[in-house]
Subunit: 329 residues, 2 copies
């Protein structure tokens, strides 16, 4: 079992690599090699199998990024929402042309007599709109309200078609908003969903730009990694032509997130300041408040852990590394 | 009012050009110039305004194809279903990269201080699946079963996003199967829907590869041209983020088409031979049997004329030219 992770230096790519390095297995088989590809060569985790790192641009994907005989490709290389909105060409190149490059690399493997690799792709709930009233069924139409979501939805179509044609065997996962992200607050409109937990746990203030009853569809970093790994090994036959899935995340209010924070560390939420920001509310207000995710549940994707467990996992796994990385230790 | 037609030498492009040349107007305004662009320079109809013809590849769209100050772009340049299935790279280049080139040309006009042009794009019901049981609502999800449909659905997403960003003001029309096409039978799986009317009217035999109760979603060439022209002048504000429309075609059985043929020319259907063909039935059997098209009706798109009127229009407008073109006169 040979694995390639495109975007292997990113937040989720690193975690997938680490999880696989620990287990040594994927889809019940021993991993015999892993390649990590990113714009800057990622750090290789210590693993019971050889790990190669490759540096490059996904739109000009080097052959070494997906070595011959690769069984599973995690395609996580992306320009995220705020960046794709700020730079149309960059978003289109990485999110669409990059996906075309992955399709072509898989095609070449098949043309050379190899098997069509499983490709696990990270799409996003940003490919939907509908807002606070929307609790979307699996057959809901994607009407994106941002370039990132439009590019992700288009890429899903191309990957499903490439699967139908036998170039690959793709599963596209529409990830929820991931909380709690480690590191620093960033310019993403969704940054505050993590900040309101992470910053108080670091003893730092955080601002809440939306009302407490604002509802958001979230997933944890650990669940996201588990979903990606499940998608790598699942039977895709029941998916038919539709290779995309909404995942069993959590539909929660910001108030519930804050209550979970206080349950894990009493009084921590005193560091959260309500500071309404219409420009942020306008962006995140377009995202659906939830999904039924019936199909993913039936295909064996485990429901996200509860909010308190999610905050506890952040404290156990990410709080001290974040403190160190930010020089707060 | 300046107009550009990309794919101006094709079946629909020529008809749009001719209709505009006759009326001299679009969206209630006088046309002051028209540019016809295609892979081979199209013939210019005689018109009460200047007509330029430009030859080239849509993926390397020359600036002259959409001259500065163009108000309306009909983007009809495409690689159709059978060809896109046979040649993946060709389909992707023309149907996707070509659409990106149109987006970029419009962006450049806006960057140069011009207005965002209205872009009328021909998408297709081939972007849906579902088959004989499917009578699809406007919010139905596109799950294409062919590369052409996947590329068209992806292009719709990119055009909607380009509209949201102000690069253009797009309307994507998902055309039904068009009958009666003039000319010769071709290799398209849908060719027989026209052949079973056209060939008997020419005194020639035709084969019917599906049962008489097979249901298909059709539109006439005249309705398609009317829909394209309506889309060029309509108010797009009520469309919101979703710039794509299912059109008010006709859901008819093959038996009903044959009955309309006999009503227009008694006994003509004796030239139609039932000859089941599973490979053709498999392809066309995936297409939805109908659409409610509620949204398009509310936006002023006129319902397709009835079947008998549709056959009569073919006889009046296209039968003799087809006879001449095929050397049957």
């Amino acid at each position: 079992m040979k694995v390639a992770i495109l975007g292997g230096g990113g937040f989720l790519g690193r975690r997938v690599a680490e999880r696989l390095a620990v287990s040594g297995k994927l889809a019940g088989r021993s991993i015999t090699g892993m390649t990590l590809f990113d714009i800057v060569a990622p750090a290789a985790p210590s693993a019971p199998f050889p790990v190669e790192t490759v540096e490059g641009d996904v739109t000009a994907l080097p052959a070494e990024a997906i070595p011959l005989g690769t069984n599973v490709v995690f395609h996580l290389a992306a320009v995220v929402s705020a960046a794709a909105e700020a730079d149309y060409d960059l978003g289109r190149n990485v999110n669409l042309r990059g996906t075309d490059a992955v399709i072509d690399a898989c095609r070449r493997q098949v043309s050379a007599g190899g098997r069509a690799p499983r490709v696990v792709f990270t799409s996003s709930i940003a490919s939907f709109s509908g807002g606070q009233q929307a609790m979307l069924e699996d057959n809901a139409k994607q009407v994106p309200a941002n370039s990132y979501g439009a590019q992700k939805a288009a890429a899903e179509l191309l990957l499903a078609d490439a699967s139908r044609r036998g170039f690959m065997d793709a599963v596209s996962l529409r990830l929820p908003t991931i909380i709690v992200r480690p590191g620093r607050p960033n310019k993403a409109a969704s940054s505050f969903f993590s900040s309101i937990v992470r910053e108080p746990l670091l003893g730092l203030p955080a601002e809440l730009p939306v009302p407490d009853d604002f509802r958001v569809w979230v997933g944890s970093p650990n669940s996201a990694v588990s979903w990606l790994i499940h998608a790598a090994g699942m039977d895709t036959l029941p998916m038919g032509l539709d290779r995309s899935l909404n995942l069993p995340g959590l539909s929660v209010t910001v108030g519930e997130i804050i209550a979970a924070l206080d349950q894990v560390r009493q009084g921590a939420s005193a560091l959260v300041t309500r500071k309404p920001d219409q420009s942020i509310a306008d962006i995140v207000g377009g995202w659906p408040a939830g999904f039924t995710a019936t199909r993913a549940r039936a295909l064996g994707f485990a429901p996200n852990e509860g909010l308190v467990e999610l905050v506890r996992a952040f404290v156990a796994e990410d709080l001290e590394p974040t403190r160190r990385d930010r020089g707060l230790a």
